[in-house]
């Protein structure tokens, strides 16, 4: 691990000034992803600014009814919050499906949204990886990509986002709030993650040096029957192979409202808008769910060893929607 300077900020402004103009400074939250990558030499910051003592912890309801989740709220606290469990249950379920109790106690909401891919080549300095070293190539395309992307990838990078939390955030149209020395800003989650293109090393649209201060969940987007289901290679403590967050409102057998987001299939959580469109206003039957899933996945480009994810994503969408109906 490279040596680095460490400081702890207690005010947002201090945190922002400590990183300004320093390309190699990073905010440190729970450290559960950043420190691991530093040990591997993938991240090599000169300076860490610890944000955990900032007054950004906790969940509260804004006057307009939106739910505001402070950036440094731990994953455990977010999952346990009664309003999140009541209005956005898929979010609580997703967080609890991730990592382990110990990790969730350390990991923060902002850190979770910014965690890096688990592609093994990304973490191995001796492998070619465009995300780590732009222009060096992508070892996964010809290598082991059993758990890589089937949607939205490019020849430059086929990695997936590992976050469970980000999937229901996409479902609930969360908004990421940040601050820079120039002031405050916000980014809807649908525009927070960049398309891969040929710049897989640029993952988000967050401005340089920006500190995430909170994530809000619009009250209009609440989904009390929403669900999250994660399929992985063992019963717990593994990243998703494919996961689905979904919400569905059915009136007299017809789909009134439907939202679907997928995890484990793309470089960022994938909102299945084509499937949603197919279903809206139509009959809420398992056959229709399956057909809609197939429509969404028709654009998928599986690699030689991850084609099973197509079937899995389709079956999972069908079964989660069917479960919500029943």
């Amino acid at each position: 691990m490279k040596e680095f300077a460490y400081s702890r900020a207690t005010a947002v402004h201090d945190a922002l000034t400590s990183v300004v103009g320093q390309e190699n400074a990073r905010f440190l939250a729970g450290g559960t992803n950043l420190v691991d990558l530093m040990k591997r030499g993938v991240e090599t910051p000169d300076r860490l600014v610890d944000v955990r003592a900032l007054p950004l912890d906790g969940v509260h309801e804004a006057r307009n009814g939106d739910l505001v989740i402070g950036a440094t709220t731990t994953n455990s606290d977010a999952a346990a919050h009664p309003e999140i469990r009541r209005r956005y249950p898929a979010l609580s379920q997703a967080v609890l499906a991730g990592a382990s109790g110990q990790l969730r106690n350390m990991a923060t909401v902002a850190g979770n949204l910014l965690q890096r891919t688990r592609c093994a080549y990304f973490a191995d300095l001796s492998s070619a990886c465009n995300k780590r070293v732009p222009g060096s190539g992508c070892a996964a395309v010809a290598g082991v990509h059993h758990n890589h992307a089937i949607l939205g990838a490019s020849p430059a990078c086929v990695a997936t986002s590992p976050s469970d939390m980000a999937v229901p955030m996409m479902l609930f149209d969360a908004v990421v709030h940040y601050e820079t020395l120039d002031g405050k800003g916000e980014i809807p989650i649908s525009r927070f993650y960049r398309p891969v293109g040929d710049t897989p090393h640029l993952e988000t649209t967050l401005p340089d040096g920006a500190l995430i201060t909170s994530v809000t969940l619009p009250s209009a987007a609440a989904g009390e029957r929403s669900r999250y289901r994660k399929v992985r290679e063992r019963a717990s403590y593994a990243f998703a192979t494919v996961s689905v967050a979904a919400d569905l409102v059915v009136r007299s057998g017809q789909v009134r409202e439907v939202r679907i987001a997928l995890g484990g299939v793309a470089s960022h959580p994938w909102r299945a808008r084509i499937a949603e469109e197919e279903l809206r206003g139509g009959p809420a039957t398992p056959e229709r769910f399956r057909a809609a899933a197939e429509a969404e996945l028709s654009a998928a480009k599986p690699l030689p060893h991850n084609g099973y994810k197509l079937r899995l994503a389709r079956n999972l969408i069908q079964s989660v929607l069917t479960e919500i109906v029943h």
């Binding site: 070892a139 290598g143 063992r234 717990s236 403590y237 593994a238 192979t241 099973y308 079964s319």
Partner: protein, 710 residues
């Protein structure tokens, strides 16, 4: 602090107040309190003055040659004392190896510029602290020329050749082809299993230093005596000048039975830098540089009459091997012993590749071998339209099916019937895909095994002290199994005294020759030596000599003079699974195992060991596999996030218990209860998945992408 530490036997002082009877009584570990309170010391915990630390640098290519090593940045890095590579490393004896497999190229670290597998150690950076050593290691510039590597395993590989025959010759009983031709029903299928790692929680750690002419080592291992002997040969020293000790070991599962890179490199470093040096492998290095279980490909042919009587068993297995070391993954062992048949033929081939050397991992041979044979038996039952339990009942041999030798004690049928009763097997509908619960498919399956047992020569010294206590010394080791506690019990009963009068010293090669914690035969072999020494000592004490009196006894002669007979443990395992065909997820709901493992010294710990073994079997069935990149030739899942085994949530209620069993040729009636727990589980689960879904899984692990349906 002492420069040369006192290494304790790790029993703590918490053993007084307990009293006999010992054997057969469930007892918690004598060192249990030390372990849960953090007092127990593992190899990396023992403080040593002037200690320096070594960090390993491993090869990033799978085949080729080192062209240059530039240590300048490393040497300029804070705290770095020096770098060892093939240019300055002490020369070692190329003949060093193991008694079973001969010279072992795996021990020839830093001797030349050749790279034959990814992860091969190419240098050691030594520094004042562990962190400084790692930082220095990251700065070492190593250049290579790469040559094409070959990691493509197949039984028809042009370099395939017969394995060594040290574990017995191929079986060639009867005429396999004729019996197959005469069979009403034939199964001819191939089964494959991936490479697997031992995955002990404690990574490999060693410290070495020189005390005059004596090379001292503290090492996390399963065989202090055997490893001291290997170390002595490797560095050209008399065994009397080498002493290897260890207090506690956090698991080995086979990966610590041989001399490991940690101790070789620490020894080289102490020779060069004249400081005690500790080398602690990282988890990734444990994966890359300590041996694994090989991939296997096994063709099984079974032929039977309509009534299920076996006419033919053919088991031809191939496994991968590195070019550096021999090994025998004896997949075909149980085909020679488990069932009667008119013709039995086994073959065992190796395929040399650019891979990490392979060696013992959790039930070597039998774990993959039983998956193949016992899956094939289930397929035979299917084709005969017969209860797979009945099929196994119909083929019980009177004598060793290949050897013709009598069995010492054979309680396979008792395992089958007790397991079936406990599981509720009777009345099972043997047709697949009949049981559903909502969207889940439910199935049950079973499998059985034998597991070779014996005892290996060992020596023990017992001293009758003046205060009425006995000091029992044997170069045994407790790798977490409870061996120390079992040996206490054995010694107390053998000396006919209360438990609290026994003082046990283990974990020190200087005590004398002793078998390793390996082959499930540690406690059995050491127990025999303790019984022999106790018997000899009690005889001497009859004449009332002045105390203390010491007696050393060795079991070589007694063991060698046993009659030639078939000696095995047995098990039967029953599994229930639930499969979600939409997602391919397989969950094991129930596991029942019944074991005939001879006399059980400590039922609490043996049950716990068997339960643990069954969990490993579950992991082998569903999760474990080394994944290699064909382009780079290197393992890509060399950590616990990528190399999966069962998490708690994967483990159902497990019922592991013993049936009455006794080994007549062992003074304590013992067999070996360790690894057999792992063995039949994968086949039982695979058979249950077939029963649930109707699909055969002949390739492990049974991953969800292999199970998912359209």
């Amino acid at each position: 602090m002492n420069t040369h530490p006192q290494v304790l036997d790790g029993t703590g002082a918490e053993i007084s107040g307990l009293s006999a009877p010992a054997i057969g009584t469930p007892r918690t570990r004598v060192e249990g309190r030390d372990k849960v309170s953090g007092k127990a010391r593992y190899a990396g915990d023992i403080p040593i003055e002037r200690l320096a630390h070594g960090a390993v640098v491993t090869a990033t290519i799978a085949s080729g040659r080192i062209t240059a090593i530039d240590p300048s940045a490393t040497l300029a890095s804070p705290g770095v004392i020096g770098v060892i590579d093939h240019r300055n490393a002490p020369r070692v004896d190329p003949e060093a190896g193991s008694p079973f497999f001969g010279p072992d190229g795996q021990l020839q670290l830093l001797q030349d510029d050749q790279i034959a597998h990814g992860g091969w150690p190419v240098a050691l950076v030594v520094a004042e602290t562990h962190e400084q050593a790692r930082a220095g290691a990251e700065r070492l510039r190593v250049s290579y020329v790469e040559q094409p590597h070959d990691i493509a395993f197949s039984p028809g590989h042009p370099a395939a050749r017969p394995a060594l025959s040290a574990f017995g010759p191929d079986a060639n009983k009867g005429d396999l082809d004729a019996e197959l031709a005469a069979s009403a029903v034939v199964v001819d299928e191939s089964y494959t299993t991936p490479a697997q790692h031992a995955c002990a929680m404690e990574p490999h750690v060693a410290t070495a230093w020189l005390e005059g002419a004596v090379l001292r080592g503290i090492d996390s291992n399963q065989a202090p005596y055997g490893i001291a002997a290997q170390l002595a040969t490797l560095f050209g020293k008399p065994l009397s000048d080498v002493r290897v000790q260890v207090e506690q070991v956090g698991g080995g599962f086979g990966s610590k039975t041989g001399l490991g890179p940690q101790l070789i490199l620490a020894t080289m470093a102490t020779m060069l830098f004249h400081r005690p040096v500790r080398v602690a492998l990282t988890r990734e290095e444990v994966f890359l540089a300590t041996s694994a279980r090989p991939r296997t490909d096994q063709r099984v042919r079974l032929g039977a009459d309509r009534d299920g009587r076996l006419r033919a068993i053919g088991h031809e297995a191939a496994f991968e091997i590195s070019g550096k070391s021999e090994f025998i993954e004896n997949c075909v062992e149980i085909a020679k012993t488990l069932y009667a048949a008119d013709a039995i033929r086994t073959r065992l081939n190796v395929v040399p590749l650019n891979i990490l050397p392979v060696a013992s991992v959790r039930a070597p041979g039998t774990a993959p071998g039983s998956f193949a044979l016992e899956s094939a038996m289930d397929e035979l039952a299917e084709r005969l339209d017969m209860d797979p339990l009945d099929l196994r009942r119909r083929n019980e041999p009177e004598v060793g099916p290949v050897s013709g030798l009598p069995f010492t004690s054979r309680n396979f049928q008792l395992c089958l019937s007790e397991g079936a009763r406990q599981f509720g097997w009777a009345g099972r509908d043997h047709r697949p895909r009949r049981r559903r619960e909502g969207h889940l498919l439910i199935g049950t399956g079973m499998a059985g095994t034998s597991f070779f047992t014996t005892a290996f020569p060992s020596s023990a010294t017992i001293t009758a002290e003046q205060d009425g206590t006995f000091t029992v010394a044997i170069a045994a080791i407790d790798i977490g199994t409870g061996a120390r506690t079992a040996l206490h019990a054995i010694a107390a009963d053998a000396l006919r005294v209360g438990w609290d009068r026994i003082r046990l010293r283990i974990g020190d090669s200087a005590i004398g020759p002793a078998w390793q914690a390996g082959g499930s035969l540690g406690t059995t072999s050491w127990g025999w030596a303790i019984v022999a020494a106790a018997r000899d000592l009690l005889e001497q004490l009859e004449s009332g000599p002045a105390l203390p009196v010491s007696v050393t006894s060795d079991t070589t002669e007694e063991i060698m003079s046993r009659p030639h007979r078939e000696r095995h443990s047995y098990s039967a395992v029953f599994a229930e699974v639930a499969v979600d065909p939409a997602t391919g997820e397989v969950r094991v709901r129930r596991l029942v195992g019944r074991f005939a493992v001879g006399r059980v010294v400590n039922p609490l710990m043996v049950r716990s060991q068997l339960t643990g073994g069954m969990i490993m079997g579950l992991s082998i069935a569903l999760q474990e596999e080394v994944v290699r990149d064909e382009v780079s030739g290197r393992q890509v899942n060399a950590d616990f996030a990528g190399y999966h085994f069962a998490a708690n949530a994967d483990v159902p209620f497990i019922d592991a218990d013993f049936v009455e069993d006794h080994e007549p040729d062992d003074p304590l009636g013992m067999k070996g209860p360790g690894e057999i727990g792992t063995v039949a589980v994968a086949a039982a689960i695979a058979n249950a998945v077939w029963h649930a879904t109707g699909k055969r899984h002949r390739e492990l692990p049974i991953r969800l992408d292999r199970v998912i349906e359209d």
